[in-house]
């Protein structure tokens, strides 16, 4: 069996390795790379110019995994990077920027199953352009509880005059993205979502919890706002997750929220699912906010900051 192949992708030569190795018991590395190749037009807009943390599974999802932020040795010269300083490790750190198909294919070949981009672009590293309401159920709450809470979020967002863009986390949760106006800081973004969580909890305290301690969340959906802080990341739209069914963190429409299941979107059926979406439900997230909506978000942010000070 030919396991290593030299391929030419948009004029870049890439050596694909161990193509027949299973990354999931049921899928080989070739199938995994094929997924990211086909999904490239959908996923690249959400990765472009954003420093990314990779979660690599060189021996498949049942083997050892590790996080990778710094560019690996032998990174081709044509891969764009963002050199910065790691305050954590006190040494230089060169993030990868997945700005084109060859880079995405090369990164897939590293068995990087999960792609976690920053909420900001490297040009304005301290200004996120989206915030995420991260809904995470604690047992016995399940996905249908999350769906209820997501729809409650939608109601509240409508009331506040803000647009949310939902996607499946790929595990048991739902992520709702909000576009932020220019010049927002990471702290303001987290404060905004924290405040939103408090409003939400007031609407339905039986379903929603803001408890940091996991054991106090039992049976409720946790609204995590801290993922919006600097150096925190959330799995990219259309990224695969290293879970048994090979689920996709799939953007969905609001009308789908009521009936969708995480198993609806996996490596096995992505082809059909992607062609069902000629319009990417997330695409407007990258467009600038309308003036009215920007005013609404800034107003909400001002209330959040004020509330935070008391």
């Amino acid at each position: 069996m030919i396991d290593n192949r030299d391929v030419l992708v948009q004029n870049r030569q890439i050596l694909l390795t161990n193509l027949s190795k299973p990354l999931w018991p049921q899928y080989t590395k070739a199938q995994f790379i094929e997924y990211y190749t086909l999904v490239a037009p959908y996923i690249l807009p959400y990765l472009a110019d954003r420093p990314v943390t990779l979660v690599r599974y060189p021996d498949g999802i049942t083997g050892k995994s590790f996080y990778q932020k710094d560019k690996p040795p032998k990174t081709p010269a044509w891969v764009q990077t963002f050199p910065t300083w790691s305050t954590e490790k006190e040494q230089p750190l060169e993030y990868l920027l997945i700005n084109n198909l060859p880079t995405l294919v090369w990164i897939a070949n590293l068995a990087a199953i999960e792609l976690n981009p920053w909420h900001s672009r490297y040009i304005t590293p301290d200004n996120p352009d989206w915030a995420v309401i991260d809904l995470d159920p604690a047992e016995p709450a399940n996905f249908s509880t999350v769906r209820k809470v997501a729809l409650l979020c939608k109601e509240l967002l409508d009331h506040l005059g803000c647009t949310g863009y939902p996607k499946l986390s790929g595990a048991t949760g739902i992520h709702i993205y909000l576009r932020l106006p220019q010049g927002f800081s990471y702290r303001n973004s987290a404060t905004l979502i924290g405040f939103f969580g408090k409003l939400l909890q007031r609407l339905n305290p039986d379903l929603i919890t803001l408890e940091r301690q996991v054991k106090k969340r039992t049976g409720k959906v946790y609204v995590d706002h801290l993922q919006n802080l600097k150096n925190k990341t959330i799995v990219a739209p259309y990224s695969l997750r290293p879970l048994p069914l090979a689920p996709i963190s799939m953007p969905i429409t609001w009308s789908e929220v009521a009936s969708v299941f995480p198993e609806d979107f996996t490596l096995a059926n992505f082809n059909r699912q992607i062609t069902r979406l000629p319009d990417d439900p997330f695409r407007k997230l990258l467009a600038p906010l309308s003036r009215a909506e920007e005013a609404n978000i800034r107003h909400l942010s001002a209330m959040a900051t004020k509330h935070c000070q008391h």
């Binding site: 192949r5 030569q13 890439i14 080989t28 070739a30 190749t37 695409r283 467009a287």
Partner: protein, 285 residues
């Protein structure tokens, strides 16, 4: 068959001999002095430009504006501007919309400090422009130039070019004209601590050092920029000239490269092979 017109032929021998165009009008301001100036580019890229021709008749290809939906060529007055804000979706802009946008208000080069040129490392310099006095600017321009000549200092200024506020230096070029050098901000320059470790220790023999020093002094010469030429462009030009003059051309053979195959083909082949292997494993006891 001549591939080039007489005019083009001429152009090949005098690549890029274009006249200078103003790229910016504004004013230098320092203290109470206000100097109206024009900005001209100082450099030009000199790579050769080629045209697409039809292989059979060598006619230059014509570009037509065709609407793919109506399937016909559209005339100038049928064209409007659209800004694509998401794939397939456009907002329309009229000529009026463009006129309503206020023009850049700050069109000044604000001098902040005067410093010595030697203090600035060349890494800071980005791009140069000639500064020429505009109407009414001749006297203050001459004054500034002479004062800078007298003191031997150069000016550090802030300038808004293409809606970006840039740092810049103003210096005297060839004793006659003021030149603006746009500069990088310090935080745009990558620092040494971002490099891989360079604090290794090597021991150098005295003899080796003497040899290297000797080599340098043998090669040392006054800087004559005209000596240096772009060999690739020269060779390409020479090839074009030979073609025009109908000479035979020797084409160097390209070096071999490893076998590369199409990405999707490689993946499909591997997926098929894995599936077949799995099947045979299922069949075998």
């Amino acid at each position: 068959m001549r591939l080039f017109s007489a005019e083009q032929y001429q152009n090949i021998y005098q690549v890029g001999d274009s006249h200078m165009r103003t790229i910016w009008n504004g004013a230098i301001s320092f203290g109470l002095v206000h100097i109206p100036i024009k900005l001209y580019p100082t450099t030009q890229e000199k790579s050769l430009k080629f045209n697409y021709l039809h292989k059979d008749c060598h006619s230059p290809l014509k570009y037509e504006k065709i609407c793919p939906v109506c399937n016909r060529e559209v005339s100038k007055d049928e064209i409007v501007w659209g800004y694509q804000y998401e794939p397939g979706k456009y907002v329309l802009l009229s000529a009026e919309d463009f006129e309503n946008i206020p023009l850049e208000t700050t069109k000044t080069i604000d001098i902040i400090d005067f410093v010595n040129l030697q203090e600035i490392d060349p890494v800071y310099f980005a791009k140069s422009y000639y500064l020429v006095p505009n109407q009414g600017g001749q006297k203050p321009y001459t004054l500034l130039r002479q004062a800078m000549q007298e003191t031997g200092q150069i000016a550090i200024a802030k300038v808004v070019l293409r809606s970006k506020e840039a740092l810049a230096a103003i210096r005297i070029y060839q004793n006659s004209v003021l030149m603006l050098e746009t500069m990088y901000y310090p935080d745009e320059i990558k620092t040494l601590d971002q490099l891989p470790s360079i604090d290794y220790v090597s021991t150098i023999q005295e003899k080796e050092l003497a040899m290297a020093v000797n080599l340098i002094s043998n090669l040392s010469a006054p800087f004559e920029p005209a000596k240096y030429t772009d060999n690739y462009r020269e060779a390409l030009l020479e090839l074009v000239r030979q073609k025009i003059d109908g000479e035979a051309i020797a084409v160097p053979a390209a070096s071999g490269r490893a076998e590369v195959i199409d990405l999707m083909k490689a993946l499909e082949e591997s997926i098929k092979a894995s599936a077949e292997q799995r099947e045979s494993e299922l069949v075998a006891p």
